[in-house]
Amino acid sequence: MNALEVAKATLESVEGEAEAVAHVEHSGLARFAGSEVHQPTLIENAMVTLRVVQDNRLGVATTNKIDTAGLAELARRASDAAASAPPDETFPGLAPPASAPAVAGFDDETAALGPDDQARLAATAIDAGGDVPVYGFFTSALSELAVMSTTGLSVHQRMTDATALVVAADEKGSGYAEQTAWRAKSVDPAEVARESAEKAKRTRGAAEIESGVYRAVLEPYAFADLLDYFSHDSFGALGLLEERSYFTNRLGQKVFDEKISITDDALDPHGLPKAFDFEGTPKRAVRLVEQGVARGVVWDRATAARVGDGAESTGHAPPAELRDWGPLPSALSILPGSAESVDELAELVGDGLYITRLHYLGVLHPREGLITGMTRDGTFRIRDGKIAEPLVNLRFTVAVPDFLREVFGLTNKAALVNSQNFYGERYPYGVMAPAIASARFPVTGVGSKPGI
C-alpha cells in the first residue's frame, strides 16, 4: 500500500472525528569506515499515526501493523487514549481541506536506486578518497507522507533524497564534505570524497591558539549547523510564546547585520521540498529575518490558536512525537551575499579563523542564543587575508546574535546541508546556507588534533 492508501484504510477503521498521518520509507544507506563498507542498512517500513478527537479529548496512537486487525487495534488504542484525556478547550480542530502546493522533490531514478546502486555509489566515494582513508556513507530513499482526516483533508507527497557524506581521515589530519539533494544525480560522491581528502591533507601539523574572540569564516556546513541549533528555540512560535526565543519582545527590531535575511522555505526546488506539514496544512515560505530585522517565526495550528488575533498556521506542525517542541523550521534558507568565494571572505576577515564543520553543539542559554561546541575536520588560521596553517579543534561559546550582528560578507552561492541524521522515520530536511564571514567568534578552549 502507498501512504495514501494506508491513511485511507486507517480512517476507515475508526468512528468519529480523526486524522491519519501515514509515513512510508524505502531506504538504503551504505556506511563505510576505513574505505570499506561496514554498516549497510536497508529499511522497509510504513508507520501510521492516528489522532482521535472525542469532544475535544485527543488521543494519539501509532503502529506499523497496517493490516485490518492492526488498524482496528490502532483505532482502539487511540480511542482509549482520547477517552483518558481531559477536554482540551484550546484545541483548534483538525485542519480543514486544503490543496497542497505543487512542489518538486521526487525523482524516478532516485526512487529506483537499490542496494547494488547504493553500494556502487559508496564505492565511488571510497575510490575517490585516494590515499586518505574515508569514513561516511551514501544513502538514498523514497519516502511518502499522506495526511487524511474526517474534515475531508487529503494530501499526499512522494519524496526522494540522496546524500553523500565523507570524513577523510588518517592519523595526521581530517577533512569533511557532503552533498544532499532530492535527485541522486545532483550528488557526486567522488567530488565529495575529493573535497574531503584534499581538506584532510591540509590539516596536518595542526597548532593550538589562545582563547579569545576571533573574526571567522564559517563554511556552509558550519553555518547551517549553528543556525539550525539556534532555530530550535528562536524561530518557532512556541519558543516565542514561552519566552525561550531570542526574538521575544524583539520582533520588528533590527537584531542582526543587514546582510542577514533568513526564510524558511520548504517550497524551494533547490532544497528538499515539502508540500504540507504533519497536520496537512500547506507549507508557506516564512520571512524570519529581513535585512537584519526580526520579522517572524513559524506556526502550527495549536500555537496560532493560542494567540488568536489572526495568527495562522504556516504549515510547520512537527510529527506527533515531537509535538511538544511546537512548530519548527525545517527548510531554513539564508540569502547569499556577493562574495565570489571563501577566499574572498578570508580577505575580508584579514586575521582570524576558517572553520569547516562544527561538532556536538549544546545550547547553554536559549534566550541569549548562546551555543557551545567544537570545530572539526578542517580548522585553519586566516592570516593576511589568506587561509593559512591548520589548527586543532577549537571549543567555541558563541551567542549567535552576536555572531550575526557584524557580518563582513557571505558567498554568492548557498549549499544545501543535510540536517536530519536519519533518526526515526525518514523525513529529509536541510539548511540552505552560504559561507559567512563574521567579526565575532569566541574561542574558549582547544581540543584534540584533527585526524582519526
Partner: protein
C-alpha cells in the same frame, strides 16, 4: 517469532551467508506529557519488524522489514545478502567465538505499566504540573512514559534468546523568566526526566507532586541569582551530573568501535588507542568505572546483548587505570580480548552497534556534606542543562541548572548559568573524592545518539556526588 527468525536465517545461509542472525522486535511505548495544565501529548505507539544481519564473504549486510511473516523475513535476508555482496572493501571480518546459548530474560515488575490506566497517568502529570504553579513560573511540564520491548534473536550458530525489557520513566520541569533572565529547573534529572527498567512502582516512588514545589521555588530563585563567576576552583558535582560526565567522557571513548574509527563520520572517535588497555592512566586512584548489564533497574540491563552474548559485569577503569573496553564480537576478535557483550540496536530496523550498557562510577566513602566540608572555596553544581564534547572525547563543556558557591565547607549563595570545562584525563585525574554507597543513585537516560542511520540508546549510570580540584568554571568570553 521463532519461525519468522528461522525463515530469515535459513534463507540467508542458503544464499551463501557464512553467518546470519535475525531479530524480531515488538516495541510498545506510552507517553503522557502535560504543560501548564493541559495535556500536551497522550500517545500509545507500537512498532514491530525483523532485522536480518548477515556476513557474506566477510562483509556485513543488514536489511529490515516490518512484515512479520515468512515472506518478509526471506525478503529481508536476501536483500541483506545482496547488500553484503555489493559492499566495496577487502572484508575479512571475524567474530569472537561464543558458545551458543538458549535462554529467556524478563524485567521483574511489581506493577505492569501497561496495566496502569492512561487516565491515572494523566492525573499524575496534572497533579505535579499544578504543584509547580507560582509567580514567575512561565512553563510547567510533567511527563510519564512506559516501554515494553519484546524480542527474539536467532543466529545461524544456534543461539536463541528471548527477552522482555520493561521501562518506566517520569520527570517534571519548569521555567521561570524575569527581566529577560530565563531559567529552568527539573526533577529527578535533566531533559525528559529519568527512567528505569522497572514496573510502575518506579514512577510512584519518584513522588513528582511532592518534589514539584521545591523545583518551582528554585526556578523562581534562579532568575534572581548571581551568574556563576569564572575561574579555576574546586568543583563538587551532584550524582546526576557525575552520571552524565561518566557517559560522555568515559562511556563513549571506551566504545571499541569508536577507538577503531568506525564511528568517525558521525559521533566521532576516541582519544584512546587499543594498546592503551592496561597502561593508560585515565584518572586518579579514586576513579573506578564498571560496565554492568546485570544492574537491577538499569536501562542497559539484559540477559543477552543483541549478538546473544550473556550479560557480564566487567571493569573498565580500576583505580584510575584503563582496564577494559566496551566491545562487540567483531571488535573483541580484533583486539584479541573477550567476546563482546555490548552490542545493542535501537529497534528492529537498526543494525546493532557497540553501546554502553550500564556504566557506573563506583562509590567511595562519606556523604555530600563530607565532600563539601573539605572545600575552603569552590562551586557545587547540580542537574545538567547543557553538554558538549569533542569528537575524540577530550575537550568537554557542561552547564548545570543550578549551583551554589562553597565557602569554608558550607553552601553559600545560589548561582545561575554555571558551566565547567576540562580535558578528560586531566579532569578525571583531579578527582579526589567520591561519596559513598548511601549517596549512589542510578540515572537512566534515553537519548544517547550514535550511528548512521541514527540510533537512540537507553543507558543507565550509577553515580554519587564527586569532588574535583582545580577545574575551570564559568566559561564565557
Amino acid at each position: 517469532m521463532h519461525d519468522v527468525c528461522a525463515a530469515a536465517v535459513d534463507a540467508a545461509t542458503a544464499a551463501g551467508a557464512q553467518y546470519a542472525d535475525a531479530r524480531v522486535v515488538l516495541k510498545r511505548n506510552q507517553f503522557v506529557a502535560t504543560k501548564n495544565g493541559h495535556v500536551e501529548r497522550l500517545s500509545d505507539s507500537e512498532s514491530e519488524g525483523i532485522g536480518v544481519r548477515v556476513l557474506v564473504n566477510g562483509a556485513w549486510g543488514f536489511a529490515a522489514d516490518r512484515r512479520l511473516c515468512a515472506d518478509g523475513a526471506r525478503d529481508a535476508a536476501l536483500r541483506a545478502c545482496t547488500f553484503a555482496r555489493a559492499a566495496p572493501g577487502k572484508h575479512s571480518r571475524q567474530l569472537a567465538p561464543i558458545t551458543p546459548v538458549s535462554g529467556t530474560h524478563r524485567t521483574p515488575v511489581e506493577r505492569d505499566p501497561f496495566e496502569v490506566p492512561l487516565a491515572e497517568k494523566v492525573a499524575q502529570c496534572l497533579e505535579a504540573d499544578e504543584a509547580m504553579a507560582g509567580r514567575e513560573i512561565l512553563v510547567r511540564q510533567a511527563m510519564v512514559r512506559a516501554q515494553r520491548e519484546h524480542k527474539l534473536l536467532l543466529t545461524s550458530e544456534g543461539t536463541e534468546v528471548e527477552q522482555e525489557l520493561i521501562e518506566c520513566g517520569a520527570g517534571i520541569e519548569c521555567a521561570a523568566a524575569r527581566d529577560g533572565v530565563f531559567q529552568m529547573r527539573s526533577y529527578p534529572s535533566a531533559q525528559i526526566g529519568s527512567s528505569c527498567q522497572s514496573g510502575w512502582e518506579y514512577v510512584e516512588g519518584l513522588d513528582l507532586a511532592g518534589e514539584a514545589p521545591r523545583v518551582a521555588e528554585q526556578a523562581a530563585a534562579l532568575v534572581r541569582a548571581d551568574e556563576c563567576p569564572n575561574g579555576t576552583t574546586t568543583l563538587v558535582l551532584d550524582a546526576d551530573q557525575v552520571a552524565l560526565q561518566v557517559h560522555e567522557s568515559v562511556g563513549h571513548p571506551t566504545e571499541l568501535d569508536r577507538v577503531y574509527g568506525t564511528e568517525a563520520s558521525y559521533a566521532g572517535t576516541s582519544f584512546l588507542k587499543p594498546d592503551d588497555l592496561g597502561s593508560l592512566r585515565y584518572g586518579s586512584e579514586q576513579m573506578n568505572i564498571t560496565a554492568d548489564p546485570t544492574t537491577p533497574g538499569g536501562l542497559g540491563s539484559f540477559g543477552f546483548d543483541d549478538e546473544g552474548v550473556s550479560a557480564e559485569r566487567t571493569p573498565v577503569v580500576e583505580a584510575g587505570l584503563l582496564t577494559g573496553f566496551l566491545t562487540s564480537r567483531e571488535t573483541a576478535a580484533r583486539i584479541g580480548a573477550g567476546n563482546g557483550g555490548s552490542m545493542r540496536a535501537d529497534g528492529w530496523n537498526r543494525m546493532p552497534l557497540v553501546r554502553m550498557t550500564n556504566l557506573h562510577l563506583e562509590p567511595g566513602e562519606g556523604t555530600l556534606a563530607d565532600l563539601l566540608a573539605d572545600v575552603d572555596e569552590g562551586v557545587y553544581m547540580e542537574t545538567n542543562r547543557s553538554w558538549s564534547i569533542d569528537d575524540k572525547r577530550l575537550n568537554f563543556q557542561f552547564g548545570t541548572q543550578i549551583a551554589w558557591e562553597i565557602k569554608r565547607g558550607k553552601l553559600g549563595r545560589m548561582l545561575r548559568d554555571a558551566t565547567y570545562t576540562g580535558i578528560t584525563p586531566q579532569f578525571w585525574g583531579s578527582l579526589d573524592a567520591v561519596a559513598g554507597r548511601d549517596s549512589w543513585r542510578l540515572y537512566g537516560l534515553t537519548n544517547c545518539g550514535k550511528g548512521q542511520p541514527g540510533q537512540s540508546a537507553h543507558v543507565s549510570h550509577g553515580a554519587a556526588p564527586a569532588r574535583f580540584r582545580g577545574v575551570q568554571v564559568g566559561v564565557r568570553l
